[in-house]
Each structure stands twice: as structure tokens, then as C-alpha cells.
């Protein structure tokens, strides 16, 4: 159990709703759900969710902390915002799902190796380096996330697509040498570090 997780358990005991309200983006909205199920029925990947948003909201209120934080459900969100625009109570459901996923990730409780969690981590680390996404390095990092041999297999399987994009000048092999970046990438990095530090000392996201 991570230290952060231990502190959260000690502080909130069984009041998981309170914990979510204090630490999850837009968590204060969870109590407003009236269990109509429109979100569950509107999600393009709805049948892939172990627990739909509707169910997650009730589980949070029922104190099912481990079940909520360890499920891969929130990682099925494609950020299509269908649930947000259809929710009759106007809950910012997409943001709450992102917030829950992020909180579970920060506590070290999100499922290990969950593909969307991995892609999200690689994407952020990619952009945080230079201020701009390097699509070539991001693609390669995704192929090789499960080890070198698997990476070679993945790259070969996607070879046709890669070559097609290079021909269309939409993937540049020279990006491996550095590629696009912010001039003030140092300031950009310091800014992100500061934002994280403020967040860790504040109310949201850090127990």
C-alpha cells in the first residue's frame, strides 16, 4: 500500500464519499446522482465497463472504496462527453470519471498495466518533456511498453500504417532526433512541477 493510500484510509475510515468530495475532481457532484442510468446507456463503450458511472456513484456512496479504486471501469472513458450533455442533473460525469481514474492512479490502486492508464502516462510524460507532443516517440513508446520483443512485434504489425503515414508526410522519422518543442521548455517543466506541488499541499487530490 502506498503511503498516500495509507494516509487516506486513516483519515477517512469508511467515509469514502467524503474522501471523493475532497480529493477527486468535481467529486462534490457525486451525491447529486439520482440513479437514472442515462450515462450508462449513453456511453459508446458502455458494455465494456465493469461498473457504469451510475453504479460507481452508488458504490462511492456505499463506501465501496477498494472496488471503485481498483476497477478498470473509469479507464474505458473515451472523453466523448455524451454522459455530460445528457445527464438530467447536469453532473460533470466525464470529469468525475477522469478524476476518479487519476486519483486511483496517484494512490497506486489503479490496475497495473491497464492499457489506457499506460497510454495516458506515456502521453503526459511525452508532452511534459518539451511542452509539445512528439508523435513518433509517443508511438514507439506505446509499441514498446510491454518489453522489447513485444515492441518489435507491435511495430511490425503496424508497419503498413506507419509507412502510409510517412508517405503522406504525417509521420516524420526525423522526430526521433528531437523534433518540435517549446523554446521555454525549462519554464514549462518548472511550471508543471509547481502546479503538482501546489496540488499536493492543497485540499484536492492529496490526502
Amino acid at each position: 500500500m502506498s503511503e498516500q493510500n495509507r494516509q487516506a484510509v486513516a483519515r477517512y475510515h469508511n467515509d469514502f464519499l467524503k474522501e471523493v468530495e475532497n480529493h477527486v475532481e468535481d467529486g462534490e457532484w457525486v451525491k447529486m446522482c439520482m440513479q437514472c442510468g442515462v450515462c450508462a446507456g449513453s456511453c459508446p463503450l458502455g458494455n465494456a465497463w465493469e461498473h457504469t458511472p451510475q453504479k460507481l456513484f452508488m458504490m462511492i456512496r456505499a463506501g465501496k472504496r477498494d472496488e471503485v479504486l481498483t476497477t478498470d471501469s473509469m479507464w474505458m472513458c473515451t472523453s466523448c462527453y455524451n454522459c455530460i450533455v445528457r445527464c438530467p442533473r447536469k453532473l460533470p460525469i466525464t470529469h468525475i470519471m477522469h478524476g476518479l481514474a487519476h486519483y486511483a492512479h496517484r494512490l497506486g490502486m489503479a490496475p497495473k498495466g491497464q492499457p489506457t492508464r499506460e497510454v495516458a502516462r506515456l502521453f503526459w510524460n511525452n508532452l511534459a518533456k518539451t511542452g509539445r507532443v512528439n508523435e513518433l516517440k509517443f508511438s514507439l513508446a506505446m509499441y514498446f511498453k510491454d518489453g522489447f520483443m513485444q515492441g518489435i512485434r507491435n511495430a511490425l504489425a503496424m508497419k503498413g500504417i506507419g509507412i502510409g503515414l510517412m508517405k503522406a508526410k504525417r509521420l516524420n522519422p526525423m522526430e526521433i532526433l528531437g523534433g518540435h518543442k517549446c523554446k521555454d521548455k525549462d519554464g514549462f517543466r518548472k511550471m508543471i512541477a509547481k502546479a503538482r506541488e501546489i496540488e499536493d499541499r492543497g485540499n484536492k487530490h492529496a490526502p
Partner: protein
């Protein structure tokens, strides 16, 4: 006629050699003919896109979008910030609205921005290029420069998610927005009004992490276009364009289909209709060739 001035936020995918570089090419002719001047925001950064939430918390995400807003505010005062990419627009507009509503979040964000030598007052409005076209130029304005109407072309207007939700274009419905069809008609083509996958999700960033689930969405989007007699799909979204075009060959390989539906941007239609050649319209940037559009551009 003096041009309308906007602070332009291109976004990572629109850079040279990146996945939507042909979109970036195609808007030049469109903007020139419509009297739109896009002034690139100096040293802009990535918005975090829709997948940034996993590792980046709320405040780091607010900070990176706030940096772009602050750079626009400082360097291009008085200009609306305009993005061609729905993810860029969504992240930036969400940030602008969140910081407008909360003084404490604005103060914390500015504390982080100080590390990059910046400060945000919060005066900049974050808009999408489509908003500029619909609201500032208008459909008649989009029609005026047409010299090569795309007559006889049947096109499925595929808006996708983030251009449409949660903000969308003012006055349009989330379930059946009509502006893209009207833009298609403005350049002389036929929009398929009954295309039923107009606002379906292509899987977004999950095209990378959950390919089978995403490719199921893409297959529906493409097959419905075929079923309705479309010759091509037109979209305002960079990720939709890439996902829906690029993965058709994967779906064919795995599922024995024969999908080969071209997917282009509205700006490419406009560039061709306004007299741009194939290169100017970015038509050399496709994996599935939009032949009919290339033919019209070559005439």
C-alpha cells in the same frame, strides 16, 4: 477589406510532419479567401488532450492551458484565441471557464505560471475555427468565394464528439447538429442528412489502448457512410480524421471487410472549392486517396 485578426493555437498534430499537418496546410487558402488572419501564439504548448488526466492532475492541466491563454493575452491582446483542433479548444475553454469561476484556482494557477514568467488575467476567449466560420463569416460568406462548386459529390458529415460536446456550436443540438451539413452545401456538395453516425465516438485516444473497441466504432461510422451512398466522410476533428481513415486497413485485415472510404477535413473541401490546387488543399496527405476531390482540384 481588412482581415479579421485571431490569436491562433495550432496544436501539436498540426505541426510540420505531424498527423494533421495536411489540415494545417489546407486552412491557408480558406483563411485567405475568407479574410481571416491567424496569428500564431508564440511558443504555445500542448493542451494535454483528452488523455492527459491520467498522469496530470487538475492543476497541472489548468496550468498548461493557462500558459497558452497567458501567451495569447500578452502577445496578441484583444484577439480571440482560435484553435483548429477540438481537443485543444476543449481543454483551453474548460480552463478559461474554470479559472473564471474560481478565484482560488486562478491564484494557484498563476502561482504555477510564475515559474514560466507569465501571469493570466483571464480576458481571452477560447474559440474553435468552426465557430469563427459559422458565427463571424456565416454560411453565405463561406459560399461567396466558391469558384469550383463540388457538384455531384455526396458527403457524410461526421462531427464526432469534442467539436460537438460539451460546448458545441452555439444554437446547435448535441444529438443532430446541422452546421457541418450546411458547410458542405455551401461549397456546392450534397450533404447526407440521414447519416446516422454524425456524432458517434470514434474511440478517441482509446484507439491506441483499446484497438478492438475503437475499431468497432470506426467500422460503424464508415459502413453507415457507405450505406447512405457517401463518396467520402468530412470531419472537423483531427483525431476523428486520423482514426477513421488510418484504421480502415486494420479492420479489413482482421474482419475481411473492404473499407476504403476517404476521410477529409471541411477545410480541404473549402480550399478546393475556392480554387486551391491539390497540394494547397493538403490532398497529398491521405492514406486513402480522396480521388474525386483530387480530380476536381486538378481541373
Amino acid at each position: 477589406m481588412s482581415k479579421k485578426q485571431y490569436a491562433f493555437y495550432p496544436g501539436c498534430s498540426s505541426q510540420k510532419g505531424a498527423s494533421a499537418s495536411n489540415f494545417a496546410t489546407s486552412i491557408d487558402v480558406m483563411c485567405e479567401k475568407l479574410g481571416i488572419q491567424l496569428n500564431e501564439i508564440p511558443d504555445w504548448n500542448c493542451c494535454g488532450a483528452s488523455i492527459g488526466y491520467g498522469e496530470g492532475g487538475l492543476l497541472p492541466r489548468l496550468a498548461i492551458s493557462a500558459r497558452n491563454l497567458a501567451l495569447a493575452e500578452q502577445n496578441l491582446p484583444g484577439q480571440d484565441m482560435v484553435s483548429g483542433c477540438p481537443a485543444c479548444w476543449l481543454s483551453t475553454r474548460e480552463t478559461a471557464e474554470k479559472l473564471h469561476e474560481s478565484d482560488s484556482l486562478l491564484a494557484e494557477t498563476n502561482e504555477a505560471l510564475k515559474e514560466a514568467g507569465l501571469n493570466l488575467k483571464g480576458t481571452v476567449k477560447a474559440r474553435h475555427i468552426v465557430e469563427v466560420l459559422v458565427e463571424d463569416v456565416g454560411f453565405a460568406g463561406m459560399k461567396a468565394p466558391v469558384v469550383k462548386p463540388l457538384e455531384g459529390m455526396k458527403i457524410a458529415g461526421y462531427i464526432g464528439c469534442q467539436t460537438n460536446r460539451p460546448f458545441g456550436i452555439h444554437g446547435e443540438s448535441f444529438e443532430n447538429p446541422l452546421y457541418l451539413d450546411r458547410m458542405i452545401e455551401a461549397v456546392g456538395a450534397e450533404a447526407i442528412a440521414s447519416y446516422d453516425q454524425k456524432v458517434t465516438c470514434c474511440g478517441g485516444a482509446l484507439a491506441f489502448s483499446e484497438p478492438d473497441k475503437s475499431q468497432k466504432q470506426i467500422r460503424d461510422i464508415v459502413e453507415s457512410a457507405y450505406d447512405h451512398g457517401a463518396e467520402m466522410i468530412v470531419t472537423p476533428c483531427q483525431l476523428c480524421q486520423a482514426n477513421v481513415e488510418i484504421y480502415q486497413s486494420e479492420i479489413n485485415k482482421k474482419q475481411g471487410t473492404q473499407l476504403a472510404m476517404p476521410v477529409v477535413y471541411y477545410s480541404q473541401l473549402m480550399s478546393v472549392a475556392y480554387g486551391g490546387n491539390a497540394k494547397q488543399a493538403g490532398l497529398d496527405g491521405h492514406v486513402i486517396q480522396p480521388r474525386k476531390l483530387q480530380e476536381i482540384a486538378g481541373k
